[in-house]
Amino acid sequence: MDSRLVSDRARVNTGWVLAVIAMLLVAAIPFSYAGGVLDRPGVVTEFGTGDLIQIAFVVAAFVASGAWLIHVRPRNVIGWILLASGLLQGVQTSAEAYATRALTEPDQSLPLALPAMWLASWVWMPSLLVLVAVLPGLYPTGRPPSRFWAWQVRAGLVGIALVVLLAATEQGGVDDAVAGVRLPWDMPAWWPWLVGVPAALLVAAAIGTALVGTVVRAIRATAPERQQLLWLIAAAGAMVLTVFLPWRGVFLVAFGLLPVAVVVGVVRYRLLGIEVALRRTLLYAPLTLMVALIVGASTTLFARLIPAGLIPLLIGSAVVAVIVFPVAGRLRKLVDRLVLGEAADALAAVDRVGAGLETVTDDPVQSMLEAVARTVDAEYAAVQDLGGEKIAEIGEPSRRAIEVPLLHGGASFGTLTVGPRRGEPQVTGPDARMISALAPHLAVVVRSKRLTEELARERERVATATMAERDRLRRDLHDGLGPSLSGIALGLEAASKALATDPVAASDILRHARDEADRAVVEVRRVIDGLRPTALDLRGLPGAIEDTAAALGLGRTGGPSFELDAMPVRSLPPEVEEAAFRIVSESLTNVVRHAAADHCTVVVDQVDHCLRLAVQDDGAGISAGRTRGHGLDSMRQRATDLGGYLNIEPLQPRGTSVTAVLPLETP
């Protein structure tokens, strides 16, 4: 059914029609046996209502599962295999019923009696063999997962064909229902050897490889293929476990669940959580068995020694308590390894993480975190920055999560928090190792994001400062120097005219002009002094302070030692930054010039919505009368201009403390 000529819709319709036909065939069985057919001479078959229900259940399970799978995946051959198997089972049972009636009909009035019996004698074989010899090799995609499996599937198909050839040509089986029935031909004695031996070899090889190969595949596979294969293995395992039970019904239920499990494995493997179901089963079934055995054995044992009352049972329970818990722990680990698999594909993990980075997204940290979470199939994952703020998060916080520092180049960039796998009580060792291995890559992403943000912020800050600076410069030139120079030019022109007529007036005008020129020079100096220090734009406030301190000789050998403790303050307004820098550099100049200090400390931090600056030295200190001068007035002026204040106080036993508090938002 690989042809592209057939539309998916036609496939779906065909699937459902065949399913209905199979059920109709089953429904026809009671009519074939009606009227005392089973009591006729020569009829070997026994058939009751229970048998009919069982057949109907199994056939319905196969054809319905098959048709539904075809419905959702028309091009997946698995659905067709399930449907075919169910259909053939329906054909077999109904053909046998019809042939039983037709062959024993007194007047032989029903046609095709022998062909129907012939059909029933062999058609059941492919219906079962295809499930064990072919289906595993095509599961779950409908295509062989490798060339090896392609050969396995071919071997299975050829083997089944040979088996059918042999069964359809030999006498065996045609007399199962009605004694004495024979085919009208007889094959030579060498025929079974010629066909049967290769058939048996091929089918045995195909089934053997399918069983072993599927288990190996499941062990090697990673999610989600592993979960898909587990569905198949669980269904097959249920059949193997129940086939030898005395209750045939239980086995039939398991057999009927096989197609359901296959469909779930193909389509819905994630939603139903096979891991959880399998882990619980594999954990609690052996534990229950063990408890039962120990209690039974020890109770019996102690009952012989101490026949009285409850004591043997109590001792038995105590033994259970002592043994069960450690065993349960080990068993859980074993089961986890079996079901969840520790052989996570490292290359695939790296691939996924890389893919998370390749896609253009708004937030590279978030997409990378998603890739990490997918890699270990975690329901919860988060990245926190150094301040504890979550910068990316997936899922609901889990108390059982592990935390890994995001380290890069010896520096930490935050914490990665990852919860356990779906259905897991805690993060397993291999998953933890995987998370640790991915953390540095995440750290690089977090770091680059932070750098990008810092760069944008810095650019913004410098741009704001530059604009403010340009505005002030324009104002200075427009209001001060411009008219001043114009006035001088006008004055000079007036003076040159007056020189001949009124020398006194000319001299007066020239004096005015010269005085103004002097003032203009002072003004130019003031404007230049008022320019924002370049160091602030290049190095930021802490860097500019360090530069100034170094330029003043602080921290140099032989000079006073210097210490700067600057807390990073975000988005410092340019005027505050500039005032802060001028206050600190003025204070440092005072320390160097007047204090004769051994040590000087500058602290820059943020208190509430203010920038606080503290310059302290252990020098000569300032007497009460000298809190003016030394630029202290201009420092105080800068602080009050911004709505802040400046405090100067002596330190004990010696030294001076200058503290300035500048509001970060202009009032």
Partner: protein, 109 residues
């Protein structure tokens, strides 16, 4: 007959220089000088000049507003507005029809 002129500019040297140049001319009589818009209004009311030479940006009342008020009272008053920016010219566009001239400080007169 001399032209009676009042100069208004907040910069003392510019006022002084302009006044000195105009004083050189016998046809011009600088009757008063003002540093602000309000001073200008007061000086015009007191001296009734023929022409006012005013800057645009001045404290308390800028040259544009002052000019508008003066022209409303005395449509025959000649007003010469001085500016240093080309940016200011669009502000003056509205006044241009009514004031006698527009000069850029420091360039031409």
């Amino acid at each position: 007959m001399t032209v009676r002129v009042i100069i208004a500019d907040d910069h003392p040297m510019f006022r002084y220089g302009l006044s000195a140049v105009l004083t050189q001319s016998t046809a011009v009589d600088v009757v008063a000088a003002a540093a602000t818009g309000k001073e200008l209004l007061a000086a015009v009311a007191e001296h009734r000049p023929d022409v006012v030479i005013t800057d645009i940006s001045m404290p308390d009342l800028d040259g544009v507003v002052a000019t508008r008020q003066l022209l409303a009272e005395q449509p025959e008053l000649g007003v010469l507005v001085l500016t240093m920016h080309e940016d200011d010219e669009h502000v003056l566009a509205a006044l241009r029809g009514r004031s006698a001239g527009l000069s850029r400080q420091g360039r031409g007169r």
